[in-house]
Symmetry: C2
C-alpha cells in the first residue's frame, strides 16, 4: 500500500521512529483527548474515533505505549506520559532499586483505520529490566530500559537497532506486513 | 436551593458521603469517560460536558479526587482509581516506607453546572501522611490516610467526623454555602 497514512500524534520522536519502517507516513500533530482506562484497545478505539473527526476518509494511524513496572504492581501502565513528567529517569531507577524489583514490560498498541473505515489492531510487548541511565539515543525511558537478552539499553542503540527489537518497531512491522498483503 | 441535584458517579460511597451534606442529591450511575490530564479543571469540565448530554437542563454535580504521593513525585494524581486497582493499601504503605517519604496530599475538585448552564468549581486539598492500615470505616485509601494534626486515620473516623475535615467534605461544604446564597 503506497497511499499516504496519517499518523496522529503529539510526539515527533515516535513519528521519526515509525517513518523509518513506513515511509509513506505523514505526521499530523494533534494532542487527542485520551480517556483513562486500563484497556489499551478501548483507549486506541477512542483515539481513532477522535482522529476520524479531523481526517475523515483518510488512512489513519494512532499509537499507545504503556510501561508496567513490577515494583509498582503494573503502574503507570497507559499513564506513562504523566509518570515521566513527574519522575526523572534517575528517580524511576531509584524507585525500582529501593523497592527491590527492576522488572519492566513495555507494550505498544497500534490502531489503523483505512479509508473504508475498517479498523485493525496490532500489539507487541517487550520485557526488560530497569538499569541506571545509559546512552542518549532515542527518547523517553530508553536510557534506563535494558531489553531482555541484550547488553545495550535502548538509549545506547541506534534507531535502526532499537527498531529491530523494540515494542514499537515490532508492532509497526506487523502493520507493515499487513499493508504489504492488502497491496 | 432545594431543587434536585444529579450527582453523576460510578461510586456509591462518594454519593453517601455527599448526601449527608446535601440532602437534595440524587445519584445517577454513569461511568463517564475520563480524559487523561494533570489539569483537574480540564478533567472536570470534560465530565460536565459528558454528563450534560445525558441530563440536559438539570443541575448536575461531578467530582474528581486525586492523591499525590511525595514518594512518587506527585503520582498517581488523577489516576488514583487505577492505582488502587493495581496496588493494595499495604503495598502503598510499603512503597512510601521503603522510598522514605510518607507525605500525601489529597484533593477534591467539584464541578457544578446549574440548569442555566452556568459552571462553578470548588476545590480543597488536605495534607496527611501514610500510615499502616487502621480502621475499616469509609472507603478507598482512608485506612492509610492520617490527616495532619489528627490521631485517627479516615478509616477510623465516622462518616460525620471524616466529612468535617476531609477533602471531599470541605469541598462540598463550599458548594453548600454557595447554594444557600443563590437560594
Amino acid at each position: 500500500m503506497k497511499d499516504k497514512i496519517y499518523f496522529i500524534t503529539g510526539n515527533p520522536n515516535k513519528y521519526l521512529e515509525i517513518k523509518k519502517i513506513i515511509p509513506n507516513l505523514e505526521m499530523k500533530t494533534l494532542e487527542l483527548d485520551e480517556i483513562q482506562s486500563d484497556d489499551s484497545k478501548q483507549i486506541i478505539k477512542h483515539k481513532l474515533n477522535e482522529a476520524s473527526k479531523y481526517f475523515p476518509n483518510k488512512n489513519i494511524l494512532v499509537e499507545d505505549t504503556r510501561i508496567h513496572l513490577d515494583c509498582l504492581n503494573g503502574f503507570p501502565g497507559p499513564f506513562i506520559k504523566w509518570f515521566l513528567k513527574k519522575n526523572s529517569l534517575e528517580k524511576i531507577y531509584e524507585m525500582s532499586y529501593k523497592l527491590e524489583n527492576r522488572n519492566i514490560q513495555v507494550k505498544t498498541i497500534i490502531g489503523y483505520r483505512n479509508s473504508n473505515q475498517e479498523d485493525y489492531f496490532f500489539q507487541v510487548e517487550v520485557k526488560g529490566i530497569i538499569v541506571e541511565s545509559r546512552g542518549r539515543n532515542n527518547f523517553g525511558f530508553d536510557p534506563i530500559f535494558l531489553p531482555e537478552g541484550y547488553i545495550q539499553t535502548f538509549g545506547e542503540m541506534s534507531k535502526e537497532e532499537k527498531n529491530k527489537i523494540s515494542h514499537r518497531g515490532l508492532t509497526i512491522k506487523s502493520l507493515k506486513e499487513f499493508l504489504n498483503k492488502v497491496k
